[in-house]
């Protein structure tokens, strides 16, 4: 019989390779509109928004990238927005979710929140275009540690 089971093998085990998304360094959140790669967006650039095809409040898609937090047990994701010039509240949203631990590509080793929809609750499309908005995201882990980041740009309706 070749079916072999290890009874005492801990000492002989292969070393575990370094897992991605291990906590290292300072906690940090990078944020970008989803149509841009990280590092491409600079303050004042356009932030594209539009209507969901089958209804609901207008939205802008954001992508966040987190380092330095242990998010394996999920996060609380908070989003809020403000008109930079008038100070008007452009909407807010909070929910529990899990981020993806990327192990390939430019974001390998980081936690990713892709295509997060900031919803402009209470606003119509024609009320939003041309506004300069600050859209913010906060990611909080299960221990209460959090990071937040904002993007500021002019809202431009263009969501195919």
């Amino acid at each position: 019989m070749r079916w072999l089971l290890p009874l005492i093998c801990l000492a002989a085990c292969e070393p575990v390779e370094r897992a991605p998304c291990q906590v290292r360094g300072d906690a940090e959140l990078e944020l970008t509109p989803s149509d841009r790669s990280f590092g491409e967006f600079t303050s004042g650039d356009d932030i594209v928004f539009g209507p969901p095809p089958q209804g609901g409040a207008p939205y802008a898609a954001l992508t966040g990238r987190v380092d330095g937090l242990d998010l394996v047990d999920g996060v609380t994701l908070e989003l809020w927005g403000e008109d930079v010039e008038s100070g008007e509240d452009l909407g807010s949203l909070s929910y529990e979710t899990r981020l993806v631990c990327a192990n390939v590509g430019d974001s390998a080793g980081n936690w990713l929140a892709t295509d997060v929809h900031f919803r402009f609750f209470g606003w119509n499309l024609d009320q939003l275009g041309g506004r300069v908005a600050e859209l913010s995201m906060r990611v909080t882990d299960k221990d209460g540690m959090s990071v937040e980041q904002s993007v500021v740009g002019e809202l431009v309706e263009d969501m195919d």
Partner: protein, 551 residues
């Protein structure tokens, strides 16, 4: 139950071949209900700028309390759809998992033969103002439903108007309706027409201007169950992919091949969770099959119209080979009433129609009207089958995608786009091979085995005898390899191959190699075999710890 169940599917199916084999519509069996969660079928014609959406509707409760509502971007044309469309597409695209047995070496066959034998037993009118901030765009009867299409200034006004009009919707819908109201969406609300019963429910078809398929999942959160499956079929010119949800490729080692993949829904749920809760897996992508749902040439309306008795009518209909479905059963009940006395005696409707002559004393032949019965059949079934065929003929490609969402994950309406750059075909048929590695003289039960997955992973498994002796299962033994449920998490879009975020394939292959080389443990230790369950658990511990660190 007052609550509407928006976009929740009522799905019934019986394998066609099995049904026909017994000579009746329904094979004298109770009609099984496959509550598969929410299912929506989209046909997207980008050139014409139209979207057809077919939505199944499930409801449990009193007929007078039934109400249903869905937001749409533009004023839709409404039409009754067919559950045969759902059944047909589901049959074509449902994931299937087959385990082929392969014997290598010199297996002793006597016991195999003995056990094998033992096993063998086994278009809108002009808007009108509804008053109080509500604009009624259209009111019409659609199949068994009274429908109204309307806009409102606020969700509260919308609900107030609908409830006053007899659409019995719960007031706690207000918060999820409000965003749709705020963006000037239209709403289609349904209630059952007078004389219609909940048994008459058919899927609703909607055709509206648009080029993108999207499910208003936020509204579903009101009536969602935990880990509610969501299956979306998108028909169009090319393969469809989720645009604002991630795409996952499942880990075939997470599938329980020894039970026909009956844990697939669980794997999808775990994979979606691993992708943050917003992800779909592709169940199938490939060509549509026009003619697979309804063969027009086999339907002879003239024969039905000339039938002089209900017995003759139903015999002729049975010969036309219509697939069994809830819609067929409902249409038959419209054509030939199902006697309440038989229901009281416990005779099911399907039994009644399968053998009408068996219950001839309960059938009123004196008032037989073949034209009325045929018209009922056409309205309740044939028109829907023809519409199902129309949508198949209109679109060369179908994609089926499945997700699983909790109510609190229903924060984003999933959007689906076409991608002609990717590999267009993804089979729903998955096969693995269980190889029996017989040493000389070993029976198949004594032989160690290797499970070979389609991606080439070879997973060592103990003998069948060992499994029996230790009162465990192959799937339990494989547990260290069943996570993660998603081996690839990727962000797809309308062009290119998308961006991969998580790729566990190499790691999964390496783990399978370790598993194969070292038994079930994470290291190369060896013991003589077999050992007890405690030993097995000790062996799995290192892998479990390692998995935790990997996450």
């Amino acid at each position: 139950m007052r609550a509407a169940l928006p976009l929740v599917a009522l799905l019934s199916m019986i394998p066609t071949a099995e049904a026909l084999a017994c000579g009746g519509f329904f094979c004298n069996r109770d009609f099984p209900i496959d509550q598969a969660g929410e299912e929506v079928i989209f046909g997207v014609d980008e050139d014409a700028g139209t979207v057809d959406a077919h939505v199944s509707i499930a409801y449990q409760g009193a007929s007078e309390d039934f109400a249903w509502i869905v937001p749409v971007a533009n004023v839709p044309e409404l039409f009754p759809s067919s559950d045969a469309l759902f059944t047909g597409l589901r049959t074509q695209t449902k994931p299937q998992f087959y385990l082929q047995w392969d014997y290598s070496g010199e297996c002793a066959w006597d016991m195999l033969y003995d056990d094998a034998e033992a096993d063998a037993d086994g278009g809108p009118p002009s808007p009108t103002t509804g008053g109080n901030g509500v604009t009624v765009v259209n009111e019409e009867r659609v199949g068994p439903y009274d429908s109204v299409t309307l806009q409102a200034e606020t969700a509260d006004l919308l609900l107030s108007w609908l409830n006053n009009a007899g659409y019995d919707l719960p007031t706690d819908l207000s918060s999820v309706l409000e965003p749709y109201v705020a963006s000037d969406q239209y709403f289609v609300a349904l209630k059952l027409s007078a004389g219609s019963e909940t048994g008459d429910l058919v899927p609703l078809g909607m055709r509206y201007e648009g080029r993108t398929a999207s499910v208003p999942i936020q509204l579903t959160s009101v009536a969602a169950t935990p880990d509610m499956p969501l299956t979306v079929y998108v028909l169009g010119e090319a393969r469809s992919v989720p645009d604002n949800y991630l795409h996952v490729r499942i880990n075939e080692a997470a599938i329980n091949w020894f039970t026909g993949g009956d844990n697939y829904a669980d794997v999808i749920s775990r994979a979606a969770d691993e992708a943050g809760g917003h992800a779909f897996a592709t169940d199938f992508s490939g060509a549509t099959r026009p003619g697979s749902i309804f063969n027009e040439s086999s339907y002879n309306e003239g024969q039905l119209l000339s039938a002089t008795t209900p017995f003759e009518w139903i015999d002729r209909l049975m010969g036309m080979g219509l697939p069994p479905s809830a819609a067929l059963l409902a249409a038959l009940q419209d054509a030939i009433p199902y006697p309440q006395t038989l229901a009281d005696e416990g005779v099911s409707a399907s039994n009644f129609y399968d053998c009408l002559s068996c219950y001839s004393e309960h059938v009123d032949s004196s008032s037989w009207d073949a034209a009325a019965a045929t018209e009922a059949l056409n309205t309740g079934l044939i028109d829907g089958l023809r519409e199902a065929e129309r949508i198949l003929a209109a679109h060369p490609h179908i994609s089926r995608m499945t997700s699983s969402l909790d109510a609190d994950e229903m924060t984003v309406d999933p959007i689906f786009v076409f991608n002609g750059d990717m590999d267009q075909d993804a089979s729903n048929v998955h096969t693995a091979t269980l190889q029996f590695d017989c040493l000389s003289g070993e029976t198949w039960e004594e032989a160690d085995r290797t499970l070979i997955l389609s991606d080439g992973r070879e997973i060592s498994l103990p003998s069948q005898q060992w499994i029996w002796e230790h009162e465990t299962s192959e799937f339990d033994v494989m547990e260290p390899l069943t996570s993660p449920a998603a081996v690839v998490i990727e962000d797809l879009g309308s062009d290119g191959d998308g961006e991969m975020m998580f790729d566990y394939r190499d790691s999964a292959a390496a783990e399978a190699e370790d598993f194969r080389a070292e038994g079930t443990g994470a290291c190369g230790c060896a013991t003589t075999s077999p050992v007890g369950t405690v030993g097995l658990l000790l062996g799995l511990l290192p892998l479990a710890l390692r998995r935790r660190e990997d996450r």
